[in-house]
Amino acid sequence: MRCEDFSRRDFLKLTGAGAMAASLPLSFSEIASAAVATPLPAKTPIVVLVTLYGGNDGLNTLVPYLDSTYYSSRPGISVDQSTVLPLGDGLGFNPAMKNFASLWNAKQLTIVRGVSYPNPNLSHFSSMAIWQTASPATSVSTGWIGRWLDTQPLNPMLAVSVGSTMPPAFAGAKQSGSVMPATGFKLPTGTALSQFKSLGAQTAGASSVTQSAALSIANLYQMASTVSSEFAAGVLKPVDPTLQNVGNSNLNPQLDAVATLISAGAPTRVWEVSIGGFDTHADEVATQNALIGGVSDSVARFMSQIAGTKRANDVTVVIYTEFGRRVKANAAQGTDHGTSNAVYVVGKSGVGGFIGDEPSLTQLDATGNMLMTTDFRDVYGSILEDLLATPVGQIIPGWNTKLPLFTSK
């Protein structure tokens, strides 16, 4: 059975949780003056967010293979003790994740354990909204990256999501992130181009949605002129040739585009790619193994592409999902919605190893789910302060803590 297709970043904050922030339009001249052709200065940290939609099963990813409760809770769908790839602390990777085990051994993988937020919400929509807005208690219409964008000069290239629609995390009040198809852009030529470009000029008094429609044309023109030449050069080869042909077929093209543009010096500080299908309520094992193995392979391949560029030390990949899954399997050889889960941080910037405690499999909340040991806002705090050079309290009001996650801090 196929798992649910929670695959798109165009995940929507649907109901009471409020609507997306409308990005206030910038004029074309404002965008043009943002100097997007200027390459990112050397050694500027670059963040690549990988969103796993549907709630990845953390316990079949990072397996507590010495804990008998794990095996007694999940007869039929547990990962066999003899096949896990041990990392220490009684935890080991799903055997599909051998490339992540290599990154771990090279100290290029940091695993933040037990990450969640107070009063966990078991709805995909609400929980993903909480992760993307970084606002667990109250509903807000801006995302955490969008609020960071609000502190930056106007530039549609600062935060770029690969795909067709914008993730809620990128919605800001002053400016939102941009969206770029994995295949790049192709515009008409001659008079048609100048006429099309003119449609992107703002009209005074138009509704905000109409202004956004004009802005999309201006942004398309802007981004196409910035990135088109880079795509012509072709896909970057990984330094490790054994990684050339591995990985998930949805994730690889997205990460190829990111690698190409990072290598070209794109002025982008935050990238986002996504993959769905993790909502494994039934017949979980084959589906989840393939998905999480694909993530492991694709990310390792991407890091190997980056390793051959001048940005080899600057790129940090952060992998997260809206929640983990229940400790106890259900009757359909699957697992239901859970709570805390690990966040994976890949790159030389991270300290390597585990951060945070592994939650207990026996001390559970009222729904049979694990308790959190690390607040996700502390993970964001580290990213914001140590990679994006912005005080966390400015982006997440009232929050002022972070983790010892990155080496330089």
Partner: protein
């Protein structure tokens, strides 16, 4: 509807019993051929999926009165069920017919039909919701997304509703045929409390408990407002909710059409890619299934994330900002070029060049062009194809104002 021409208000509500525009379209039937993925490497490539999609796109384009199909599209996004998991064409078609039959009918009747809908049940694992091992997927989404809205129920209600929803069975064969069976013997008969009402509920009883809530009345009204008027601000008054008091969808839609906010350009909304495509085809007199390369349309809609029968998740498609990125603008450029090259431009081409820009607004159902667009279109007025292409990409057309 926002984007409609006000004079069309009354006529759009005049829904014919038989729509002559679509009466000649035959509903597809699908032989027992196995699942879509067994037919093609990816379900998206299966011929049956193409047939299903183009059958519906044809209906949307050819219907004399666009409202029933527009409402069926609304309900498809509401009870969002995706063929990516269901994997057979027949159950998706069956659900589509249920939505169409009830599109302007009574919401409780619709919800009662949907709890017995094979595709919806399979999509949300209803056939794996056992007495001994409840699966909460369907019951949670039913309350959160279909009937009540988030925050209007508790986890205890989810658990209780899951018990009341036990008893359904779908086999591989019955899924292919779109058939679900309900067996009282495997239904949980224990007494539960759902939203303060206590009893041993059948699935139908439980659905009735949900649809009778005041939160249901307000929630559905808000969803109509969200999809037709404004996705970023709540409904300003109780007009829609009041009209929906008896759960009469037609009455709520009528209130929507006559709402004072109709002429307020503040409540503009981006056309979803399907709405944009269908609206363009209606203007250009294109029957989608007769286009020489259906895959051009199909893959453009897929890249834009808006193929019929395949919503991204159970929450349906996103609004506004999501259709207004640079990537979407790129897709519109290419697809509109293709459509213009296969469409009938005579509504503007027969006119003198200086009348064409104003005529294009009438032709495309745009209230008026802004100064910038007016200038661009005027520069292209001597070339009807160029003018049509630019107009289809203009902000005033991309957005329903």
């Amino acid at each position: 509807m926002a984007g409609g021409v006000p004079s069309a208000q009354a006529s759009i509500l005049n829904v014919p019993a038989v729509d002559a525009g679509v009466s000649n379209l035959s509903t597809p039937t699908f032989a027992k051929i196995g699942s879509l993925v067994s037919k093609a490497a990816k379900f998206q490539d299966a011929l049956e999926y193409y047939q299903l999609v183009f059958w519906w796109l044809d209906r949307m384009v050819l219907a004399d009165n666009a409202l029933p199909e527009r409402m069926t599209w609304f309900w498809h996004g509401h009870w969002a069920t995706a063929i990516s998991k269901v994997n057979y064409a027949t159950p998706m078609l069956t659900q589509n017919q249920v939505l169409r039959q009830n599109a302007l009918g009574n919401f409780n009747t619709m919800a009662q039909s949907m709890i017995n809908d094979c595709a919806l049940q399979y999509w949300l694992d209803g056939q794996q919701n056992y007495v001994a091992a409840p699966n909460e997927n369907l019951s949670r989404e039913f309350m959160e997304l279909f009937a009540l809205g988030v925050g209007n129920y508790s986890q205890a209600d989810v658990t209780a509703l899951a018990k009341s929803f036990t008893g359904y069975k779908i086999t591989a064969d019955s899924l292919e045929a779109g058939v679900i069976t309900y067996t009282p013997k495997i239904h949980d008969t224990s007494t539960v409390s759902i939203l303060g009402t206590t009893g041993a509920f059948s699935p139908q009883d439980a659905v009735a408990v949900l649809t009778s809530q005041k939160s249901c009345q307000d929630f559905i009204a808000q969803r109509l407002w969200f999809r037709f008027y404004n996705s970023s601000s709540p409904q300003p008054d109780s007009t829609l909710s009041d009209a929906f008091a008896t759960r009469d969808i037609g009455a709520a839609v009528k209130a929507l059409v006559y709402h004072a906010a109709l002429s307020d350009s503040l409540h503009a909304q981006a056309k979803s890619p399907v709405e944009w495509f269908v609206s363009a085809c209606r203007a250009l007199s294109i029957q989608p299934s007769t286009l020489p390369t259906q895959s051009t349309v199909f893959s453009a809609l897929a890249r834009m994330g808006n193929t019929p029968f395949n919503p991204p998740n159970v929450g349906g498609w996103p609004p506004d900002e999501f259709w207004l990125g640079a990537a979407q603008a790129q897709e519109r450029i290419n697809l509109s070029q293709y459509l213009v090259s296969h469409g009938n431009l005579s509504p503007i081409s027969v006119l003198p060049a200086k009348q064409r820009v104003a005529a294009a607004a009438m032709w495309l159902g745009v209230a008026g062009w802004g100064a910038t667009t007016q200038q661009v279109l005027t520069s292209a007025a001597s070339d009807p194809a160029r003018l049509a292409w630019l107009a289809l990409n203009a902000p005033e057309y991309v957005v329903n104002q």
